[in-house]
């Protein structure tokens, strides 16, 4: 899997524009120089006329960083993730993604940014009338990749998440864990610049959780910024290099300072 992902990344580096520029920012060892992929400045979010569900969020996420987002149920994790994957606009403050201020950007430009983000939804959000294969292929088809490239990538990804023999199955015939693996495969198939996962291991066994974490780590090694919202401390413990963000009542908190929360700005080059 890693070889294949690397090969695809090399193809990207052979291109032009943003992809090539991103590749140039990596050091000779393949380790990425840290640049801000996400910047939140005084961000607040409320739904309708209700109270703010997120308030005064100020943080940056580095290019190639790995972050765990924790917090009690109702703390605002899913709302924060929605802001990250551009499903919601902030009601105040500024959000910059990949160097662009998207707080009130015209919606016509958002698809280009969304294609750089992989999302694992808590409720999977698979297209129910499509097979596992077609669900995983969806982001590549939307991006206009050719079918030969799509076929090999999708088959390899399904094999990797252990669903090679279920490629023709529709979501309704898959177990919760299998649906989750399809959702994860769909999120990472494009090797996004930013991967956002909401409780990605909630429905899988320990072995699959370990493999998924390995996949996220492999993507992260290749430069993908990973944000995982989770209550699974086993998952957090399995990635000791990751940084933690803890939400409490809509705000980022760090009562002990030991969580490096918000992520330390000295690791972030804000010129990105």
């Amino acid at each position: 899997m890693r070889l294949s992902l690397t090969a695809l990344r090399k193809q990207e580096c052979a291109g032009v524009g943003k992809a090539a520029a991103a590749c140039e920012s990596r050091g000779g060892s393949g380790r990425l120089q840290l640049t801000a992929v996400v910047q939140f400045e005084s961000v607040g979010l409320r739904y309708g006329t209700g109270a703010e569900v997120l308030r005064d969020l100020d943080f940056s996420l580095s290019h190639g960083g790995f972050y765990f987002l924790t917090g009690a149920s109702g703390a605002g994790k899913t709302s924060l993730l929605k802001l990250l994957y551009l499903a919601q606009r902030p009601t105040r403050g500024r959000i910059r993604l990949f160097g662009e201020d998207l707080s009130d950007a015209p919606r016509a430009i958002l698809p280009d940014f969304r294609r750089r983000i992989g999302v694992v939804f808590q409720d999977f959000r698979l297209v129910r009338h499509l097979s596992a294969y077609d669900n995983v292929a969806l982001p590549l088809r939307i991006a206009g990749r050719d079918e030969a490239e799509i076929d090999s990538a999708v088959r390899e990804m399904l094999e990797w998440v252990g669903l090679g023999d279920r490629s023709g199955a529709r979501p309704a015939t898959l177990s919760g864990g299998e649906q989750q693996r399809v959702a994860i495969a769909r999120a990472v198939i494009t090797q996004p610049d930013l991967l956002v996962a909401d409780e990605p291991t909630g429905n899988v066994d320990a072995e699959m959780a370990r493999r998924l974490l390995h996949l996220f780590s492999a993507l992260n090694e290749l430069g993908t910024t990973v944000v995982v919202a989770t209550h699974d401390f086993g998952l957090i413990a399995g990635n000791p290099g990751a940084e933690l963000m803890r939400l409490d009542s809509g705000g980022l908190v760090d009562p002990t300072g030991s969580l490096k929360n918000p992520p330390r700005l000295d690791k972030v080059d804000s010129r990105a």
């Binding site: 958002l110 698809p111 294609r115 999302v119 959000r125 088809r141």
Partner: protein, 291 residues
């Protein structure tokens, strides 16, 4: 343009579930196309009848002499024939005048005491000056009064033209109703598949990519409806044409010519184009409401 919106590669076509043709678009388009073609055919037939009547009376005039001067009819005929621009003169026989009056007066029309005016119809050459000829005729036979046949038929022609415009208005109204049904169908389809749309948007699909999926389904439905409506209307028109031919034999020309048939063929095509265009606009508008 339409073909481009109907055709899609297999994977893209699978993004919305394959369903049998159903829903309001097929039925409404079929009914409206049927009605539009029938009404348009009636309007075109009326237009043809009106222009035929107007054409046949355009150069014809009636010259009338009062009963007291009926004896001057031969002199009137010879005077009219001698005027340049008069193509033919046909005196109306007294017997024919009386037969016509019998419809209203019965046997009294045969009474020698009944004063019967004398009449002749004259046909003018093309581009002849009708008023100069009428003036010359009155100079030679002062009791003669000249009137255009088209003036007599004016109210009838006006009615035919009003009916023609009524047909045009009905076609426009039915096209509007079709468009309204498509708006409802497009919004309904979007609501039904809202979760798929949200997923597609979430992973980077543009509005155009999403719209294309729905547009294709609506185009297919509209084509099926327009085809069904057209076949029904064609059958009805052929049945009516057969009835007209049996009733009047070869006495009249066909009520619709080739240009009219071409116009009727364009109606279902226009219905499909309107349906697709309205669906496109509606869907884009609805999607703009989302982020």
């Amino acid at each position: 343009m339409i073909l481009d919106r109907i055709w899609a590669p297999g994977p893209e076509a699978r993004l919305l579930p394959a369903e049998k043709l159903h829903g309001p678009t097929v039925a409404v388009t079929a009914i409206m196309t049927f009605a539009m073609i029938i009404v348009a055919a009636a309007g075109l037939a009326l237009a043809n009848a009106a222009s035929s009547v107007a054409g046949s009376t355009q150069s014809k005039y009636v010259v009338q002499l009062p009963a007291a001067a009926a004896g001057e009819l031969p002199a009137l005929v010879s005077a009219a024939k001698s005027i340049a621009g008069v193509r033919s003169v046909s005196p109306v026989p007294q017997e024919e005048m009386r037969r016509t009056l019998e419809h209203w007066l019965g046997d009294a029309a045969s009474s020698p005491d009944l004063p019967i005016p004398a009449m002749a119809t004259i046909e003018l050459a093309p581009r002849a000056d009708a008023s100069a000829i009428a003036s010359e005729l009155r100079k030679r036979v002062p009791q003669a009064s000249v009137s255009a046949e088209s003036a007599e038929l004016g109210p009838l022609l006006g009615l035919l033209r009003a009916l023609q415009w009524l047909a045009v208005s009905l076609v426009i109204l039915m096209a509007s109703a079709t468009a309204a049904a498509v708006v409802l169908a497009a919004r309904g389809a979007l609501d039904t598949h809202r979760s798929t749309v949200e997923i597609m948007h979430g992973i980077g699909a543009t509005d155009s990519q999403v719209v294309r999926l729905f547009e294709r389904k609506i185009a297919v439905d509209a084509i099926a409806g327009a085809l069904a409506g057209s076949l029904g209307a064609a059958a009805a028109l052929l049945f009516l044409a057969g009835g007209i031919a049996a009733a009047v034999g070869g006495l009249t020309s066909a009520p619709l010519d080739l240009l009219d048939v071409a116009i009727l063929i364009l109606i279902p095509i226009a219905a499909v184009i309107i349906a697709v265009a309205v669906a496109h606009r509606t869907l884009l508008g609805a999607l703009r409401a989302a982020l």
